[in-house]
């Protein structure tokens, strides 16, 4: 483990180091007027900004004004204190990973994925699972040592779980793209309830992914892990293999690797 680093105080950089310049925009539900502009400035000051410049006040509609503000924040931050898990193991490539599964697991890893609930956005889960893959990185279907089933979109959570259990899946991949009013959270919670009811929670690996997903959220919701925007199939493949190895006691529990979710 690295030793505790020394302080590294940072602030936003506009035109010079530590000037604290921040650009904001927001709409207030009032007609455009001098009073509205003053209100925008008061607002920015309430939010702790100083040197507030209400650059633009646009009449978005009769009773809405859109503001663009430049201001300075007084806040600073010790960058050394930002805590993000350290990368330890180098991520494995396609061939190495297949070799590792062959050697250490000794059987094909079975995964099931779908975009569940009312969500029809398949492009994300397809990117992870389909042959073609994403950003030049092969999808799990292409890995000889993975057996991947992509059930598509609008799949009821229960159905995904049932089908996965029927094939004794190692991992289930749930994609959630629509997030308005936290529908992704509601649906994910419902998935976890169903997984618990089916008795696979804590046994089968449960992965959540989507543009608004991150590790923290996924854990909160009861998944084992979460993957966000820009995820490559190989990130997911690495995760699953290491987890299977750890579950089977073939790898240390504390191993971290490059590309794992943060």
């Amino acid at each position: 483990m690295a030793t505790k680093p020394t302080k590294q105080i940072i602030r936003p950089y506009g035109d010079r180091r530590d000037d604290g310049v921040v650009q904001l925009s927001f709409t207030l539900p009032v007609p455009l007027s001098e009073k509205a502009k003053e209100a925008a400035a008061v607002f920015a000051r309430k939010m702790g900004f100083s040197d507030v410049k209400v650059a633009a006040a646009e009449r978005a509609a009769d009773t809405y004004t859109f503001f663009i503000v430049y201001a300075r924040t007084q806040h600073s931050l010790d960058y050394a204190e930002i805590d993000v898990p350290e990368v330890v193991v180098k991520k494995l490539g396609f061939d190495d990973l297949n070799a590792l599964i062959k050697e250490k697991v000794g059987r094909r890893i079975v995964v099931f994925g779908a975009c569940t609930g009312t969500d029809t956005h398949t492009v994300g889960i397809d990117a992870i699972l389909n042959m073609k893959g994403y950003a030049g990185d092969y999808g799990l279907e292409r890995y000889p040592w993975f057996e991947a089933f992509n059930l598509g979109s609008q799949v009821p959570n229960e159905e995904l779980i049932k089908k996965a259990m029927a094939r004794n899946a190692d991992a289930i991949l749930v994609s959630q793209v629509v997030t308005q009013r936290d529908v992704h959270k509601d649906n994910s919670r419902q998935f976890i309830e169903a997984a618990k009811a089916a008795g696979i929670h804590g046994k089968t690996l449960l992965l959540l992914g989507g543009p608004r997903v991150d590790l923290k959220l996924a854990l909160e919701l009861g998944f084992d892990v979460g993957f966000g925007p820009g995820t490559k199939p190989s990130d997911v493949a690495n995760y699953i293999v290491h987890q299977v190895l750890q579950k089977e006691g073939k790898e240390d529990k504390n191993v971290h690797w490059e590309g794992e979710p943060k």
Binding site: D62, T118, T122, V123, Q154, V178, Q180
Partner: protein
């Protein structure tokens, strides 16, 4: 001025292929009806209320008839029977019919049958007159206020709450929007009924209900009067209730509808047969109501790659056009969809996008066309995304799109904020003002990249149309040719709502709508 690029004869050939391709499907349409078509018939008669638990009366009645195995005679017929039994209101008609034991549903004497049909026809004519008078009202106001210059700027509202939608739609109109689309809640297309009443909860959009239509149209009429500019309204005649929504929308004086012959199949996994039958009746209604349809070819290139699949858009547009024309729609009602979706990190994308949009113009010179903005490759960097949208604004005015859905700089994050629409409208107004008439300034070189690409795409579209003609639409869809999505004829949702018409099937509205 978009080039010739290709011979007129070639374009005529594409059209002919599309006719051949759709021909067998019209056979299917002629022979069958669906629960949704029948519910629409009831709605025409004024059965638009909902019963206990919010279930629409039209559903109650149709489900009952279907369960009794008699829906194949047509809901209009049974509506007549209920009237004969003395029902004095739609509600009563439903109650009487649904109360009837199955054995009481047998045929009447030939004379009574004839009478019943005459009466129902008379009532249908009255309903149709009422319907048409609503359309006339809309057209009168549209004429009185006048519209802005094309491309008409189309923005979406999607709060989930119709009253918030109204607020935002008014704001958008004030900021220059010509068309407001109320996006539907994510799951609605799979509902086999149209929800009832004003709604305030939805995900990614607001439920399409007749009452929501009314509320929004009223607000836009009011706003349009203030602005002295008619504001058009659109919604989705799509999913499991295409025809019902077409009716409700037309009745509430909407101006446009998203309506595609294949979208539901591909993107909602709705059964093919169901979709083909429903789309036909919905389009008949649109034709009569002077509603402009917006087709959904833009969606193909959100799942498939926009460069590789460009030809599928063209092929599908010819197919959609044929379906539409055969349902009585005129060219001015064809908002054929296409979009600016090529990966912006490729080279020459402005040339490629211009080529594609010019090709569409070349193939469909009299259609308004509906141009969609970049979506799939939008970044969360709102400044980049804004610049990206601006190029789509340019292509839209350049190729004289009738309808342009404006891109939102926050597309990659959330449904639009009020301010996002303002920003998009201001930029589009600028670009439209700056570049109007630019097409008349240049002659496209027939040996350039634009022309060559247009020919290449058209060539591939022809190949695909040939294949569809040879092997049939079902096979082509089965091979994932459209949007990289594969579907089968008997797969998908809603097939159980399709039923073969009885020999004495009765549908006076269809008769009227089909009358030349």
């Amino acid at each position: 001025m978009p080039g010739p690029f290709i011979d007129d004869a070639q374009i005529a050939r594409a059209r002919k292929l599309a006719e051949d391709i759709t021909e067998p499907i019209f056979e299917l349409i002629r022979r069958n009806t669906t629960v949704s078509v029948e519910r629409t018939v009831l709605r025409f008669f004024g059965i638009s209320d909902a019963g206990a638990g919010g279930v629409p009366l039209a559903n109650l009645m149709v489900d009952r008839l279907k369960a009794a195995g008699v829906l194949n005679k047509g809901a209009a017929y049974w509506y007549g029977r209920a009237l004969q039994m003395g029902a004095r209101s739609p509600m009563e008609a439903v109650e009487r019919l649904t109360a009837l034991p199955a054995e009481k549903l047998g045929p009447l004497s030939p004379e009574m049958e004839q009478n019943l049909r005459d009466e129902v026809r008379a009532e249908a004519r009255a309903a149709m007159d009422d319907f048409k008078s609503r359309i006339a009202q809309r057209d009168a106001l549209r004429k009185e206020l006048g519209s802005g210059q094309a491309p008409h700027k189309y923005v979406i509202v999607a709060t989930g709450n119709i009253y918030d939608d109204v607020d935002q739609a008014r704001a958008a109109a004030q900021a220059g929007a010509d068309i407001i689309a109320v996006i539907r809640s994510t799951a609605q297309s799979l509902l086999d009924y149209v929800p009832h009443g004003a709604t305030t909860e939805g995900y990614g959009g607001t439920y399409a209900t007749q009452e929501n239509f009314r509320i929004m149209r009223e607000a836009l009429d009011d706003e349009g009067r203030k602005l002295k500019r008619y504001i058009q309204l659109t919604n989705y005649s799509s999913g499991l209730c295409m025809a019902e929504i077409a009716f409700a929308a037309a009745y509430e004086r909407l101006d446009m509808l998203l309506n595609d012959a294949m979208y539901g199949i591909l993107f909602r996994d709705i059964n093919m047969r169901r979709t083909f039958i429903d789309q036909y009746f919905s389009r008949r209604i649109c034709a009569a109501a002077g509603i402009i349809i917006n087709t959904g070819e833009d969606n193909y290139i959100t799942t498939a790659d926009a460069y590789d699949a460009a030809h599928t858009v063209i092929a599908s547009q010819f197919i959609n056009e044929t379906f539409a024309r055969r349902a009585g729609l005129k060219d001015w009602q064809l908002g054929l969809g296409h979009s600016y979706e090529i990966d912006p990190y490729r080279a020459d994308t402005l040339l490629l996008e211009l080529s594609q949009a010019m090709l569409v113009r070349r193939c469909f010179p009299n259609a308004p066309l509906k141009y969609m903005p970049p979506t799939k490759h939008k970044e969360t960097d709102i400044f980049f995304s804004h610049a990206y949208d601006v190029m789509a604004d340019l292509v839209a005015i350049w190729t004289r799109q009738g309808i342009q859905l404006l891109g939102m700089m926050t597309e990659a994050m959330h449904t639009p904020l009020l301010a996002d629409r303002y920003v998009a409208l201001k930029a589009a107004s600028y670009i439209h003002r700056a570049a109007a008439g630019i097409d008349e300034e240049f002659t496209v070189r027939e040996d350039g990249k634009i022309a060559n690409r247009a020919r290449e795409v058209f060539g591939k579209a022809m190949e695909l149309l040939e294949e569809c003609q040879r092997d049939g639409m079902v096979a082509a869809i089965g091979r994932g040719h459209f949007g990289d999505v594969k579907r089968t004829e008997t797969g998908g949702k809603g097939l159980d709502g399709v039923l073969e018409k009885a020999p004495d099937y009765f549908n006076p509205f269809q008769d009227m709508l089909e009358a030349p």
